[in-house]
């Protein structure tokens, strides 16, 4: 890195820091979603949409994406600096998760010039919300078995079937969709195709799903003779599985190119330390209980270990044995950690753990009890932890599938 670059980066980082210090919204008077999967009310949606647009306009989202499509045209470390400033000031999440982290990088990687021009700016501004149509009611973990039909009819494909766990499905303008174009293909994967499908055509309906928390954030999406243009196809017909797998690599952090920012509030184990000092168990701060204190240290060690795993990617000699080991096990390790940490946080609050969101006596407004229930979204969604273990076992450790 040249001195000039370093200086420019330092200035950019300082500007970002100042901007987030001045512009990060404080308590809006209602509970903000901690992740993009928890946008359950119009009030939350509008608030986050405005916020993302504001961040993008200031130049702190998509800073490393090409200028031609609405990005900042800067190097990745500039965006990283902006994201760090966001975190430092505890800014709300970026709303348009699927667009920013999946569709965008995919378009930049393998999209046509026309598609990039058409979609990327709307992704960054949150004007066009994207959702993801992979899971089906009967095919959750077994994604390759997706059955939603896409039949070619002239210049159009006709869609019939349904997708589920569509995050922000009720707000989305587009869906990245995995559909079956050839039911007679030699194997189940070869019959799949990948579409950038509009949600606004007739025949597409969404129905909100009520989560275990009692809140909303996902829909089931029904397609009944919905017609989309052939130009919506991403890659070739029959390449859907390959494109979908590439997309999942973005989700799991195994492949870079995301717009930046974050779509989930990250957990700092020291928040739990703080909680353990504030929460009362049996009349004393939880941290004074030696058993709770010991478990707390275990969580801090684990949080630090996972953080260090991420840093290790930079040192090639430390990743030689199993080069895909850390990227492919990252999702499993993090999501299970966060689930257990939330569960522990809930127990730290002792008797107050019996209250739930909405009661005036709930500890931290019920954040921790709700957080625990919501944490399952990550250990189940995007491939359950059990499937993740199969992936790591087979692709990293070389254990046999059958």
């Amino acid at each position: 890195m040249t001195d000039a670059h370093q200086k420019e980066l330092a200035e950019f980082a300082a500007d970002a820091d100042a901007w987030f210090a001045a512009n990060t919204p404080r308590d809006p008077g209602f509970m903000l979603p901690l992740t993009f999967m928890e946008v359950g009310t119009d009030q939350q949606f509008e608030f986050l949409r405005d916020w993302q647009r504001k961040v993008w306009e200031a130049g702190y989202l998509g800073a490393a994406w090409p200028e031609d499509y609405g990005g900042g045209g800067l190097r990745q470390d500039f965006q990283d600096a902006a994201t760090a400033a966001m975190k430092k000031h505890d800014a709300p999440i970026m709303l348009n998760a699927i667009g920013l982290n999946w569709t965008g990088p995919l378009l930049l990687d393998m999209g046509t010039e026309e598609d990039r021009k058409k979609y990327i700016k709307g992704i960054l501004s949150a004007e066009d919300i994207w959702c993801q149509g992979f899971s089906e009611p009967e095919n959750g973990s077994d994604l390759g078995n997706a059955q939603l039909k896409a039949e070619r009819d002239g210049d159009e494909y006709v869609l019939n079937g349904s997708k589920t766990w569509t995050t922000q499905g009720n707000y989305a303008k587009y869906m990245i969709l995995l559909a079956r174009t050839d039911p007679d293909a030699p194997n189940k994967y070869a019959g799949l195709s990948f579409f950038l499908a509009p949600m606004t055509v007739p025949g597409v309906e969404t129905q909100p799903i009520r989560k275990l928390t009692g809140e909303f954030g996902f829909t089931q999406t029904f397609f009944t003779d919905a017609r989309i243009p052939v130009s919506c196809l991403m890659g070739e017909e029959g390449q859907g599985w390959l494109v979908a797998m590439r997309t999942l690599e973005y989700e799991r952090g195994a492949r870079k190119g995301q717009a930046g920012g974050y779509v989930m509030t990250s957990f700092d184990a020291f928040q739990i330390v703080d909680l353990a000092k504030r929460a009362m168990r049996a009349g004393a701060p939880a941290i004074d209980d030696p058993v709770m204190c010991d478990r707390l240290v275990e969580f801090v060690i684990e949080a630090q270990g996972l953080k260090l795993n991420n840093e290790r990617g930079r040192f090639a000699p430390l990743n030689q044995d199993r080069p895909m080991g850390l990227p492919l096990s990252n999702k499993l390790a993090w999501t299970e950690f966060v689930r257990r940490l939330n569960e522990f946080a809930m127990t730290l609050t002792g008797a107050a753990g019996g209250y739930y969101v909405g009661d005036e006596n709930a500890f931290d407004d019920g954040l921790w009890t709700r957080g625990y229930l919501n944490a399952f979204s990550a250990t189940i969604g995007g491939g359950t932890s059990q499937i993740q273990r199969n992936i790591v076992a087979e692709h990293v450790l070389g254990l046999p599938k059958k």
Binding site: V297, I301, Q304, G305, L308, P317, G325, S329, L332
Partner: protein, 373 residues
């Protein structure tokens, strides 16, 4: 928020990692490890001489004392490679003794002993006692002044490689304060050493009776640096143990996978059963964190505050990872796992031994709670 240490990796570390891995693989195949277990010495003197010739005993010794002038961070990859191949030599104990000398020895002691150690003369520490203390300053052994000499009494346990060591540095109470004193092995009668039966059979340790041992007054470490020396011993020992366990854990997982991909039962390769697959992945996930902690501890070692935190985290995590990986390895080897011939027991025993030395997981977490909260 506390500084917990960060990860870094130098070119020197990378070079040493490569060289040490190659060396250990070549010098310490499992048949050799098994053979050495059966010997009294427990190590191959010619391999030890080669290690000295390679300069690895001087990695973290300043050039003034004939060392290479790097730091303990560069010893970590060597220790890791040795752990991975279960290479048994007095490297751990000798490196630890040298670091103790560097931190707390007088200039004369350092000048006299360090070049010898760098050249391949084994040395060790005698710290543990019957009280089972992991706080190294809680000592029962005594050094009583008698003219120009010190009369020692008490007994030490788990004196690593005591039979091989030319110098034994023992912790004692001298003038009411914790102190360290160098004992020339020549002053130790044969009857004062009893070989201990320890759980890790690849290692050697003795009980040492100090009663009747007399050393010159000049054998005492610099009293002004006593505290520093004890702190350094604790941290270096735990860092090296962590690195050795991270290496052993990698080998243990490889060993388990080898069996899971070849053994067949009910017409299927047993590694295809999720009941075996998933815990193996869990062991792997723990291992990767252990390795990251080890390299963060090595990198942050000299940072005030963060160094100790990082080392204690590394020890706790590597113990957890190796214990679990080896425990499951025994189980997943089925009937063979219950035999002496299965290597899984070697790995499990190693973790148990390291838990007994310089503080187990719970102890490390208790120290961390004091440091963190």
């Amino acid at each position: 928020m506390n500084d917990l240490g960060a990860l870094g990796f130098s070119e020197e570390q990378a070079d040493l990692m490569e060289a040490a891995s190659r060396f250990c693989r070549e010098k310490s195949p499992m048949e050799k490890v098994r053979k050495l277990i059966e010997t009294e010495e427990g190590y191959d003197a010619s391999v030890w001489n080669e290690i000295a010739d390679l300069g690895w005993l001087g990695i973290a010794i300043p050039e003034d004392y004939d060392g290479v002038g790097l730091s303990i961070a560069e010893v970590a990859p060597v220790m890791e490679a040795m752990g991975r191949s279960m290479l048994a030599t007095p490297f751990f104990s000798t490196t630890l003794a040298a670091q103790a000398l560097l931190a707390g020895g007088t200039e004369a002691q350092k000048k006299a002993l360090l070049p010898e150690i760098v050249g391949g003369v084994p040395a060790t520490l005698a710290l543990a006692e019957a009280n089972g203390e992991w706080d190294l300053t809680k000592i029962e052994a005594r050094a009583t002044a008698d003219g120009d000499t010190l009369r020692l009494n008490g007994a030490k346990r788990f004196v690593a490689d005591a039979a091989a060591a030319r110098y034994v540095i023992a912790s004692v109470i001298a003038e009411n304060a914790p102190a360290l004193v160098i004992i020339d092995a020549k002053e130790i009668p044969e009857s004062a050493l009893r070989r201990e039966t320890i759980i890790d059979e690849t290692k050697r340790a003795c009980e040492l009776t100090l009663d009747g041992v007399i050393v010159p007054k000049a054998a005492l470490f610099d009293p002004a640096k006593s505290r520093e020396a004890f702190e350094r011993i604790d941290l270096v020992a735990n860092l090296l143990a962590s690195a050795e366990m991270a290496g052993a854990c990698a080998a243990c997982i490889d060993y388990t996978i080898e069996y899971l991909t070849t053994r067949k039962q009910f017409g299927r390769t047993i590694g295809s059963y999720q009941a075996l697959k998933h815990p193996t992945v869990d062991a792997y996930v723990e291992y990767e964190q252990a390795r990251s902690h080890v390299y963060a501890a090595a990198h942050s070692f000299s940072d005030q505050g963060a160094g100790e935190i990082a080392v204690r985290m590394a020890k706790a995590q590597s113990l957890k990872a190796l214990s679990y990986a080896a425990d499951r390895s025994i189980q997943f080897h089925g009937g063979f796992g219950f035999t002496y011939d299965c290597d899984a027991q070697l790995y499990r025993r190693r973790a148990a031994f390291h838990a007994s030395q310089f503080g187990d997981e719970t102890w490390q977490r208790q120290r961390l709670a004091e440091l963190l909260f």
